[in-house]
Subunit: 364 residues, 2 copies
């Protein structure tokens, strides 16, 4: 924590810690974190070759919280780039029930910021013992997870001090895209795309922050929300919902645009706003259709993403078009992060250290 104390930080007029200042600063550090990851491009390329040579039947992704949301992105990145089936695997099946599954043609990608999440470490040990090739993707150099796995990829996000993950989530998405791209023989193309994404992020963070403030202010008394997305952007819906929950104490549930229609739409009313992620890709028609259903139910819509303008919304927070649709989630998540940071301040909560949470979750 020494670095935190010595780093320059905004000081409140009263000389104390500003609510959520670390969280806000780390949101702004994301372009830099992304560029830092790209310094390890060769490590990713090398491990991609190792994985490609194994020709795995299945990529098993595991993680909790934001890491699990990044795993959701992995399902699409591995499916669309090297055309590999990837799944968010059940941890409890291996760790609690000790199910004797065949892992011999599986590659495990274990996601943990700290590298210390107990049941992720335990899962990796068991998967490896059952024949999986296990890869740790972590910010925690020298961690238990790194020791348990066959190989490690550096997340390289730099120290993250706010409890709510931001730059580690963004770098997890980038790492997954880089690895999946490498296996598909498209590593350099993805790396170039990520570099361009870092530039787009740098350019858009401050204007987005200004655009978010008046919207967040009007949500001071909102107690429940949904965040909807589809396909590649379902990961974003999950991550935005988690930020709103942990930072702003809103009961924010993530839903695919389609699942909204299978029940939850019945709960909507004017006091139940819906955060909608709309990006310009093949899933956009489903998202537009869901947004129409939300509006018909009388709920307020906040639309974000590169195609936010396509949604008939009360509030629109567009982001730049990503270098490829596959990288859109790295930009789409930012309005949600900034909204959570601002709304937490408005509500008087400290997003740096929400009540009841620690940076390293040791819960099983």
């Amino acid at each position: 924590m020494e670095k935190l104390v010595s780093s320059p930080s905004p000081v409140s007029p009263l000389g104390g810690h500003l609510l959520g200042e670390i969280f806000a600063r780390e949101i702004h550090e994301q372009p830099e974190a992304l560029r830092r990851l790209l310094e390890h491009e060769d490590d990713y390329a090398a491990l991609a070759r190792v994985i490609d040579e194994r020709a795995p039947a299945l990529i098993r992704l595991v993680g909790h919280g934001s890491s699990d949301n990044a795993a959701t992105y992995g399902v699409y990145a591995f499916g669309l780039l090297p055309r590999l089936t990837a799944v968010r695997d059940s941890i409890s099946l291996s760790v609690y029930y000790d199910a004797a599954l065949d892992f011999s043609s599986s590659v495990v990608l274990a996601l943990s910021q700290s590298g210390r999440t107990p049941d992720v470490v335990e899962y990796v040990k068991r998967a490896r013992a059952r024949g999986a090739f296990t890869v740790a993707l972590t910010n925690g150099s020298g961690s238990e997870l790194e020791q348990a796995a066959d190989a490690t990829l550096p997340l390289a996000a730099g120290p993250e001090f706010a409890v709510a993950a931001t730059k580690t989530y963004l770098n997890q998405l980038a790492a997954i895209a880089l690895l999946a791209g490498g296996i598909a023989g498209r590593g350099p193309e993805l790396a170039d795309g990520l570099r361009a994404t870092a530039d787009l992020l740098s350019q858009s963070l401050y204007p987005l922050e200004a655009a978010v403030r008046p919207v967040a202010t009007s949500f001071a008394y909102v107690g429940r929300m949904y965040a909807i997305g589809r396909g590649l952007e379902f990961a974003t819906a999950r991550e935005v919902a988690l930020k709103l929950t942990e930072s702003c104490r809103i009961a924010a549930g993530p839903l695919t645009a389609t699942d909204l229609a299978h029940g939850p739409v019945a709960a909507l009313d004017s006091l139940f706003p819906v955060w909608t992620i709309a990006s310009r890709d093949e899933s956009l028609p489903a998202v537009i259709e869901a947004a129409t259903r939300v509006r018909d139910a009388g709920a307020t819509i906040v639309a974000s993403g590169s195609a936010a303008g396509e949604i008939d919304a009360s509030y629109t927070l567009p982001v730049p078009v990503a270098p490829s649709p596959l990288l859109a989630p790295l930009l789409s998540v930012v309005p949600g992060q900034l909204f959570a940071a601002t709304l937490a301040q408005v509500k008087g909560y400290d997003a740096d250290k929400p009540v009841g949470l620690n940076k390293v979750t040791i819960a099983r």
Copy 2:
């Protein structure tokens, strides 16, 4: 809908339709529905042999809403019985993005009450074209899903008229257990267990209904809840959350006991009750640990399941111990169904036909 009109049904003192009467009746029809499924035991055994001979590398489960919740159960049933890796597959990856995945060593189990869910039907067509062996599990005889798949298993739940699924969900769990048991060479054992489960259900439904009423009444003004479970009972947490959302307009989010600690616990307070499913199996310690965390956050706990008594809860709704831990979710879901039915009545909502929903969801 003619059968609905001609079937015996409770009549209100005023001669009209009682709120949620169909939903309540169908909850009570579950033992009968379960026994009806068991009449098809031989069909399940025959298809289990076909699947076993193919020695699939992966079971891909797809469905929306309650069917997707049943798929969550399938991950555990296939993992624990025939030790096969089963996943809730991404529908959008195939249907929207047309990802060229290898399905040649996959078996698809497509879950749809009506057999008419458009993107489930489309998924089956594409998976089959890419080499999967596809199985439709549906209540909708002669449906599009049945026509699209290589084989069909009857759900045999009988007509379900309430929009919120109950007996079709229960039969989906039973069908999955029977099929997974058959592949493991344990079909008759599972069938016996399901028969015993039907008897336990018959005995416990009315006492449970009486026990649920005073609890539900005190939740009349609750706007948000979590439902937590782990392992086999995570499916139950998802299904109870969906019933509460669609029938009672509560923002009820499902969480694994572990994910609660990775963020959402920060949102809890005394106005944010948590429905906890505690069954006597290997995941129980994790659930007890999570419940302690919930209580420390000041939230009210309702504990259900066979090990509900192990939880320090404000309200306890225990169910009988199932013939095997694997069948516990068939009993654990019932208090949640009855709670949703009663609470909807208390709030003046018609659980038979929630606003904005239809029995067959045609949304993409």
